[in-house]
């Protein structure tokens, strides 16, 4: 029996509810309905009273999770779409993210953020907001790119004693599938070399990892061996793994479908160039989503974010440098 990325998220939640009485799930339509994406399907039935429908009140949803965490619970908040998390922005960045620093009381909440777009999702059901959250001290930002990571990192997220922004990618929900669900080998705070190479390092995360891997395949046919690093944890960044890869390849291409200004790519480049400048044989490069809202029309949407083709093109350019 195969498992999809979405099913892995559901399985992780099921296991958490089973194993840990401190866990509950709160979010719009997560109860009997099983959530807008069915990530909590059947869980309300299996765990009566522990999977609760919330009113359309993201601020209060997160606030209540913080209060529950203070009292020893381990809440999982499902945002219906990552885009709606910004109406809870204050609770997340000011109340949750600072709690431990202000009071020495941990704030173990997990906020599940269905991120990224499918064709036709439009500007407000498509956002990748990891950089907004990663900018803020005190938050852990995770972004699994594989089925095992979706499962394992969600289990870890709930165990982490700090607020976790769990960015799960909607494009991967049903498109990623594995035959047997096995746990990840790495812990959440480590990046992963998703493909070994020697000519160029492509750093990426979430739904851009498969895209980077496609690009690496294209490049391999041309004799170029690209190393693909999957960041996994956006904040804090495991920059050691990235730098170690750049030390081998001398070239860095960062790929991220979100907005460029101050995004994940910018931070990776800043960390690599300030600490591993001498390792670079060419300027670091980045590919981002365009600096506009995510467009509705599939034609526009298709070119808004980097594709494997564009990644391969940019890699070739960089290799010529």
């Amino acid at each position: 029996m195969s498992t999809t990325y979405l099913e892995a998220i559901r399985e992780a939640q099921k296991k958490l509810l089973q194993d840990d009485s401190r866990v509950y799930i709160y979010g719009q339509d997560v109860g009997a309905f099983g959530g807008a994406f069915k990530a909590t399907k059947n869980l309300a039935d299996a765990f009566p009273g522990r999977v609760l429908d919330a009113p359309i009140s993201e601020d209060a949803m997160v606030g209540s999770a913080i209060g529950a965490a203070i009292e020893g619970m381990r809440p999982i908040i499902e945002m219906q779409f990552s885009d709606f998390s910004v109406t809870a922005f204050n609770q997340i960045i000011n109340q949750a993210a600072t709690l431990y620093w202000r009071t020495q009381v941990a704030c173990p909440i997990t906020i599940r953020m269905p991120s990224g777009a499918n064709p036709g999702s439009g500007p407000f059901h498509s956002q990748n907001l990891e950089a907004l959250y990663a900018h803020v001290p005190g938050l852990v930002v995770l972004a699994p790119a594989t089925v095992p990571d979706a499962y394992t990192m969600l289990l870890e997220a709930v165990e982490i004693d700090d607020p976790v922004i769990f960015c799960e990618h909607k494009y991967l929900y049903n498109r990623l599938k594995i035959d047997r669900l096995t746990p990840s080998e790495l812990t959440f705070n480590h990046a992963r070399v998703a493909r070994v190479g020697r000519d160029i390092t492509i750093v990426s995360y979430s739904a851009m990892v498969p895209e980077a891997l496609f690009a690496a395949e294209i490049l391999e046919r041309e004799g170029v061996l690209a190393e693909v690093v999957d960041l996994r944890c956006i904040k804090p960044l495991d920059i050691e793994t990235v730098i170690a890869s750049v030390a081998r390849t001398g070239r860095l291409l960062c790929v991220d479908e979100s907005w460029p200004w101050g995004g994940v790519n910018a931070e990776v480049i800043a960390q690599v160039t300030t600490r591993g400048f001498h390792l670079l044989d060419a300027p670091p490069q980045r590919l981002n989503g365009k600096d506009t809202p995510v467009p509705f029309h599939p034609n526009l949407w298709n070119v808004h974010k980097p594709s494997s083709k564009v990644i391969a093109l940019k890699a070739r350019e960089l290799l010529k440098w």
Partner: protein, 342 residues
């Protein structure tokens, strides 16, 4: 403070509303048929993304919109196809925005119900529920600054949307400024799958009006006559300086949350109850009972609607789609910024 229109005034009021009733009915009819078209286009895979329909709440939506004048401001939400048309939206825009053509109000950048022509007083919603109310309030504030004392504004929200902080802040702000804002709450019993009892704990959402110090009315959202009476009363009150008005209409969402949703969670008992009645059928029967139109006239209206819809669709199908190469990819209006590296 008036919490509901008094029963006895209704019979007196009704005959006056014949013109608006018939007008609203034809918009409801057009909305219902165009939405059926959208649903079938969606099933045929012709529309990317979601399709959100207003089946069951056309009376509420049309009633408020027919009471607005061209210079008024209207901020409709997801299920206000009827109101949009009544406020003057060209039929073609419906298809344009669902297909995302280059000719659509958003040039394909946004889709489906996210459309409007803000410079014409017809606002374009974002997805975040509740956030449009303060925008419409601000537009009315602007009108006041500009010396326009005749225009009013109306905006719509669902039972679920009333739980947002944005809803609260906007109503309170409008009340403090005593703006001529009519907020129409359509309680269709569900927010996506979430029933009222998981959304709020008050008896009736209209009970919130007193907490803002504004006037509030509840109405039967399945009965166009009731909707028109209340909408007329509230818009008159707003227009004559009585500040914000809250209308709560009760009905049932007679469709899924969006076309991908079969609404299997809807309590079947509701369908046989009051709220579950179909406002379009009720209005059709009422029109006939009043002899404002007979069955064949209604059929002719339907045919006309279908014809107009087919015509608009055919036209839009020939219009160009968004082309990434023609897209400026510039989010700025300010000329000098279009050319800057960001």
């Amino acid at each position: 403070m008036l919490n509901t229109l008094m029963e006895e005034t209704r019979e007196v009021v009704a005959p006056d509303l014949r013109e608006q009733y018939v007008e609203a009915f034809t918009w409801m009819l057009l909305a219902r048929i165009v939405e059926e078209k959208l649903a079938s286009l969606w099933r045929a895979g012709k529309i990317a993304g979601g399709v959100y329909l207003g089946k069951g709440q056309e009376a509420i939506s049309a009633a408020i919109a027919v009471m607005l004048k061209p210079d008024d401001i209207f901020g409709p939400l997801i299920r206000d196809q009827a109101g949009r048309l009544a406020f003057g939206e060209p039929l073609a825009d419906v298809f344009r925005n669902h297909f995302g053509t280059l000719t659509s109000p958003s040039r394909g950048r946004d889709g489906n119900v996210h459309r409007g022509r803000p410079k014409e007083g017809y606002h374009s919603m974002i997805s975040h529920l509740g956030s449009l109310i303060s925008v419409v309030a601000g537009a009315l504030l602007a009108r006041r600054f500009q010396g326009d004392t005749s225009a009013i504004g109306a905006t719509c929200i669902g039972d679920g949307g009333t739980s947002t902080g944005a809803f609260h802040e906007a109503l309170n702000l409008a009340a403090v400024e005593k703006l001529p804002l009519v907020v129409v709450v359509t309680n269709n019993q569900y927010a996506y799958s979430t029933p009222n009892n998981r959304q709020f704990a008050c008896r009736n959402l209209v009970d919130r009006a007193v907490g803002y110090g504004i006037e509030g009315y509840s109405m039967d959202g399945t009965d166009l006559r009731d909707c028109l009476e209340v909408a007329r009363y509230a818009t008159d009150r707003a227009r004559s300086g009585h500040g914000p008005q809250m209308i709560v209409g009760t009905c049932l969402r007679l469709t899924g949350h969006a076309e991908h949703d079969d609404a299997s969670y809807v309590d079947k008992k509701l369908l046989s109850r009051f709220a579950g009645r179909d406002c379009l059928q009720i209005a059709g029967s009422y029109i006939q009972s009043q002899q404002w139109a007979d069955q064949s006239q209604i059929e002719r209206w339907k045919e006309k609607a279908k014809y107009e819809i087919e015509e608009a669709l055919a036209k839009v199908q020939r219009e160009p789609h968004s082309d990434p190469k023609e897209e400026t990819w510039c989010p700025y209006a300010t000329g000098v910024l279009a050319r800057t590296e960001r």
